[in-house]
Each structure stands twice: as structure tokens, then as C-alpha cells.
Symmetry: C2
Subunit: 417 residues, 2 copies
């Protein structure tokens, strides 16, 4: 067994023991642990900012990109945001122990499904140190034990944030191993986590496409992943023109770097005002890459190449196609989409229902901006990611997605005939 | 690409196209397809029994075990049971389209979760030809497309049953590729199914431990598996003696070969009547393998060896241990159990709740026989298996377990600020 495998096996065993102890922990205790953790985050501001400063300096020395350094950097304001996010999770309702359903059988047996934590969750993330606090808070709130493995460039920040979170956990009387941080920056530790079947119940990668891809390719443990958000908005022939413009501009331009951003606009060939729609996007500073019918609408539009239809730009660039009816729109989405968030804009309720039924996406929207694809906007209070897989949890994943259920059968001595 | 990979890729693409078409199919149409399939099964009785006869003869020539030949064999009675099981699935309520929950946000957006089929399901099974009909019925009823791959020893029976099922599908106007059977007996086809990410959404193995193990080890596609049922019954100190005896004898001896059978009995050291309990089991024909305290109870009891505590006998053999209280019982279950079904027998309601909370099993029972671990007994109408995994579906898996959900967001032009 390699050093990394030994380390992860040891951490996994401790996590399983902690998970078992967490079964008996009350809602109030879990909530108190997170509130204490938030206090420790604030009380250790100087230590955390100093640790972060070391990471930022080392990143500058290694000439990492400005975008990466920005993701890495913590200032007073960002630390306060991290602490209050932890408090918000503490205030969310605890899903554990909820009864999902209950039936009484003719023989008097009562069958209930009760929500229970998933178990031991492994989180693998990149340069954002806030994930250390966010992910620990969400997994602990839902009664799980967690093994955190952040990017090597944030190791000092992650350790400092982790120490504060761990202090809160211990202060509230929870098992110390309920949250653990992989302290080595050896990449082999990630490989060991991905193969820790029987110790880690699920891996959640949080980061860019290459991380998620590596995790999905190598993992023997189940993965809850979100891949690309190649999101479409289809403007039906009866779309209200003001809504079409407002939704398209917002879906693309509000924030271009998030997974809920629109990446392809599909305009019905019978929609009467495609010109004002594309001009609004161009005027908002968006580069448009269109098919032949779209090119005619404005000279600023450039010609789309084949890969454009499969690209998550995460930038002010949009591919635009003209389609012949909802079926062609759905066929385009089926061929090029990523099962994340797809939108129809129309005043025709029957057409909307048809789209809602047929689009095979985690989130299907009618007359709304795809930028609403976010756990907070869905009323979930927080999110650990948006799942584009089909199993277990789909779309925004928050506390409930971090639980499973057990069947409880209550009898009075029944035996099976 | 190998021949097998080509075959499975082709079948997978056809299945995805069929799945897409199934989205628009009504409850009544799916139900009608299964009723038509049952008619075709009955109408083709001679063809099916003749095909089965060829499989049975070939199995006898290859000197397969009597148990395997029994699993393979179909007679008139068994075929009638297969056909009526298909009809029963046709009569189950359709889970697709059900609203799981619904919230309205302050901005007027309405968020709903709607149950939708999982997608394309691959079923890999062994010598029981009835699985061809059962699995096709359950997957189709829940709106999924299915690729069936049965054991080579049942290939003629599987083909004949499949033809009848497919005739029902086509008769009801459903896409023909909604159900497909892998017609080759080449084992490489199984490997190709296990790696068909993006084409097959989930693999469900149905068969013995070695099949399930191979599937779990090789699969790149998510697997819904049930492994061993190493089920425990813990007799608490306050257990009613008549219930303890009736439940233990039923849990072990009603049918010893099913995954819900008890494999280990844990008797509390303060339970006052261990003697009558073990004698009832011995008198019922069960071999008992006990620890030192149990050995003293009756001279017919043999000494348990270490592997006994981790063995799924599926036979009239039972390991028996004396434990000191519920915590020791739970520790034994945590160390040796398989997260399938564990039972407490006690008249102490608080003790029962403690056991129910702490036992990390898919099914936890109080004062009932573990042999109730069965989808039919749970009121699910049928089951495709009992999942011992933690993700997506746990315990008996029926129609709902073969679905996922999508989020539907209904707006009136909302954009995100």
C-alpha cells in the first residue's frame, strides 16, 4: 500500500467511526457546531488572512493567472462572507430523521422511509479556499462525515480555515473526525480517495472540467458531478418580444462565468423579431456566432463553426441558430446540450408543456432566465453543486441531496407465511 | 472498436432514441403494451416451452447442477406466473409525471420537481429466464428503455420470451427499440455494456455474488447492486419469548435461499430463555454454529469459526452469538453486516428506537421477520432487486427506484438581478 493509500485508509476509517457517532447527534448540536465554527472563523481572522497571504505570494511567484489568484485571495470581506455562509447553513432545516412516506400493510406492519445521512463524503476541489468552509458546513449539517481535499495552491488557507471549523466541531461536542482535511499536497492522495470504496461513500468534485473529468474517469467510488452547462434558450414563435430580449440578455450577460449562463440561443424561424433580439445582445457587448440565417440579421455577427454548438464559453460569446419549430429545437438540445438548464420563451402554454416534457435537462424553465440555476434561487438555502447526472440527485444539490433513506419496519411479531 | 463494443454502441443509440420517444407515451399506452405482452407470452406457450426445452437439454448435456437446471426450467405453470407478473406490473400506478414537491419563490417563480424515467437501463442476469419478462416489464412501465443481457445457458428461452414481449410493445404503438435483447452469448458484450457511459445510464445486475462483483469491479456506468444479505436478528433482554422463537425460526427457515433470510442470531446475555430459542431452531432442522456461551446451551450446537460471522449461508445454517447489550449487538452488525436487513426483537420501545436509529441497514425491523424484505411485502407491487448501496435507491427497488426527477421552473419573464 502506498503512503497515500495508507493515509486515506486511515482517514477513511476515522471518518466512518465519526459518521457512526454522528447518528446519535441532535439537530441542535449540529447547528451549534456550525455557529461555533463561524465564531472561530471570525476570531482567527488574522491567522487565516496571514495564511492566505502566504498562498497568494507563492501563487504570484509561480506566476499563476490573475483569475486564479483572485479565486485564491481572501480579504476581510470575503472571510466575513464565508463565516456568515456557515451560519446560514446552521439555520437551514435539518433533513435527517424526516419521514418520506409511510404505509400500513394489511398484516399490520408499518413501513416508513426515514431520511438518513449519506455517510462519508469526499470533496475534491481546486483553488477556492471558501469551499473548505462551505462543504464542511453542508456535509456536517446533513449528518455526514467529510474528507476535504483542496488544491495545493491554497493549502495554507485551507488549513487555517479547517482549524477554525474543526474547533467549532469539537466545541459543540461532535466527534473531531467528523471533518478532516487531507494535509498533504501529494496528488496521489486524490487517486487514493477515488479508489476508497467501502470507506468513502461518494465523491463530489468541485472545480473545472479537467478535475471533474479526472474524477469521473478514475473513480471507483460513486461520483456526484456536474459537468458543463451548455444551456439553451429557445425563443418560440409566440414569445413576447420584451421577455425574449430581457431573458436572453440576462441569461447570457448577467454573469458569463457561471454554469447557469446561456451558451446557445435558438430562435424559431417564425419568431417575428429576431433582429431586435440579436441587436440587444450585440449592444450589450456579446459576440454572436450564428448560422447562415442568423448572419443576415446584423453585420457584427460572425459565422459559427461546428465546435461552437458544443462549447461552454463562460465568456461574452454566444452561438445562435435559427430552428424550424420546437421539435428541431429539442433535437438540437438533445444533440448538443449537457442536460443542465434549458429554457423556452413562449406565450403558448401548450408549447411550453411540450418542451418541459421532452427536454431531458436537470432544469427546464419556461419564461425565465437560466441564470436562476442556483440552489439559493431555488430556495434550498445553499448548494454543493448542480448535478448533471441522472442518479440520486439532479440539478441543484443541497442538504437533501446529501442524504439517503432507510426503511423502518415496525411489527408486533409478524412472521411471513 | 471490438465487435461487442460495436454491437452495444449500436443498441445503446437505438435505446436512447427509443427513450426519447417514450417521453411522449401515455400511462395507458405503457400499460396496454404490457397487457399485450402478457397475451403474447400465453399465445406463444408452445414456442417458449420448446425453446426452453432446448436450453434444459443442453444444460443436462453440459452436466450443470440440478439447482441451475431448476432455475432455468419453465413449465406451463411457471410461464403463466411470468405472464401474470407482467400483467400485475401493468396495473401498478405509473410514477412518471408525479410532482414530488413544489415551491413558489418570492419573485413569483414556481419550482417543481417532477418524476421522470431514468433513461436507458442495462440488466445483466444469469440463468432465470423469467427475468427477461420481469425486468422488461418494470423498466418499460417506468418509461425507461432497456437492454437485456441474460445468461448464455438460457439464450433460447430468453429469445422466445423477448419476442413475445417485443410483440406487445409494437402492438401498443411503442418504439420497438424500447426493449432490446443482446442476442450474442459472447461474454465480451457484458464488458461493453459496463463501459457504455453516455449510452447506458445505469446497470442493474441480477444474479449471484460473482456476477455482481464483476459488474461492480468493471463498470464505468453507475451500478444499482445488491450484494449479500448477511442479516442479523438481535433478541433483546426484554423480548417476548413467543415472538423471539417465531421470528427467529421464520427468519431463518421459511426459505433459506433468499437474500432476506437471517444469517446470524444475536442473543442478549440477559435474555432469560436462550435455551428454548436455540432448541426451536435445532428442532426445525437448522444447524447452529455458536460462540462459547451458545455452545453450552445444547450439545447439537457446533463451534463457530471466524468466517462464520461473515457468511451468507443461504442454507439451513445459522451463526449464533451472545452479546452484552444493544451497543455490542450494533457493533457486531457494523463489523459483519452487509447493510441489508437487520432486526431487533424487544418489548422495550426505547431500545427499539435506539436500534432503528443506529443500525446502518437499508431495512431495519422491529418485531418482524427479516423474510419480509421483499418489494411485494412492502406494498411496492414488484421489485427489481434490493439495493444495499446508499445512493439513489436503498432497500427494495421497484418502479419509483427506476425514475429520477427534473426541476421545472415556471416564470412570467423573470430575470436574475
Amino acid at each position: 500500500m502506498t503512503e497515500s493509500a495508507k493515509l486515506i485508509t486511515d482517514m477513511g476509517r476515522k471518518a466512518r467511526a465519526a459518521f457512526s457517532k454522528l447518528t446519535g447527534v441532535s439537530d441542535a448540536q449540529k447547528s451549534a457546531a456550525l455557529k461555533a465554527a463561524a465564531r472561530h472563523l471570525r476570531a482567527n481572522q488574522q491567522t487565516i488572512l496571514a495564511a492566505n497571504q502566504r498562498d497568494v505570494e507563492s501563487a504570484r511567484e509561480r506566476e499563476l493567472s490573475a483569475a486564479m489568484i483572485d479565486r485564491l485571495m481572501i480579504d476581510e470581506g470575503r472571510l466575513e462572507a464565508i463565516a456568515s455562509a456557515v451560519e446560514q447553513v446552521a439555520d437551514l432545516p435539518d433533513p435527517v430523521g424526516q419521514t418520506i412516506d409511510r404505509t400500513e400493510r394489511p398484516n399490520g406492519l408499518v413501513m416508513e422511509r426515514i431520511r438518513v445521512p449519506l455517510g462519508v463524503i469526499g470533496i475534491i476541489y481546486e483553488s477556492r479556499p471558501n469551499v473548505t468552509a462551505d462543504a464542511a458546513a453542508l456535509t456536517l449539517r446533513s449528518g455526514n462525515a467529510v474528507i476535504l481535499r483542496g488544491g495545493s495552491e491554497a493549502i495554507n488557507s485551507n488549513r487555517a480555515i479547517f482549524e477554525a471549523m474543526a474547533a467549532g466541531v469539537v466545541e459543540a461536542g461532535l466527534p473531531a473526525d467528523a471533518i478532516q482535511l487531507v494535509q498533504t499536497t501529494d496528488r496521489a492522495a486524490v487517486g487514493a480517495m477515488l479508489k476508497a470504496s467501502g470507506l468513502i461513500d461518494i465523491i463530489i468534485p468541485r472545480g473545472g472540467k479537467s478535475l471533474v473529468k479526472r474524477v469521473q474517469d478514475e473513480a471507483r467510488v460513486p461520483v456526484l458531478a456536474h459537468l458543463d452547462g451548455i444551456n439553451h434558450s429557445y425563443i418560440g414563435k409566440d414569445a413576447a418580444q420584451d421577455k425574449a430580449i430581457a431573458i436572453a440578455v440576462n441569461a447570457k450577460m448577467r454573469r458569463t462565468g457561471i454554469c447557469g449562463a446561456m451558451e446557445t440561443l435558438l430562435i424559431d424561424q417564425d419568431y417575428p423579431a429576431p433582429g431586435p433580439l440579436v441587436r440587444a445582445l450585440l449592444d450589450a457587448g456579446c459576440e454572436l456566432r450564428g448560422d447562415d440565417s442568423i448572419l443576415e440579421l446584423d453585420e457584427r455577427i460572425v459565422s459559427a463553426e461546428a465546435p461552437d454548438w458544443d462549447t461552454e464559453y463562460l465568456a461574452p460569446i454566444l452561438s445562435v441558430a435559427m430552428v424550424n419549430g420546437v421539435d428541431e429545437a429539442l433535437a438540437h438540445i438533445a444533440e448538443h446540450g449537457s442536460h443542465h438548464t434549458d429554457v423556452i420563451v413562449t406565450e403558448d402554454a401548450d408549447l411550453a408543456e411540450r418542451f418541459i416534457l421532452r427536454a431531458d435537462s436537470a432544469i427546464v424553465m419556461h419564461n425565465a432566465s437560466s441564470q436562476f440555476a442556483d440552489g439559493g434561487e431555488f430556495g434550498l438555502g445553499a448548494e454543493i453543486g448542480i448535478s448533471t447526472g441522472r442518479l440520486h440527485a439532479r440539478g441543484p444539490v443541497a442538504l437533501e441531496g446529501l442524504t439517503t433513506y432507510k426503511w423502518v419496519v415496525r411489527g408486533t411479531g409478524q412472521i411471513r407465511p
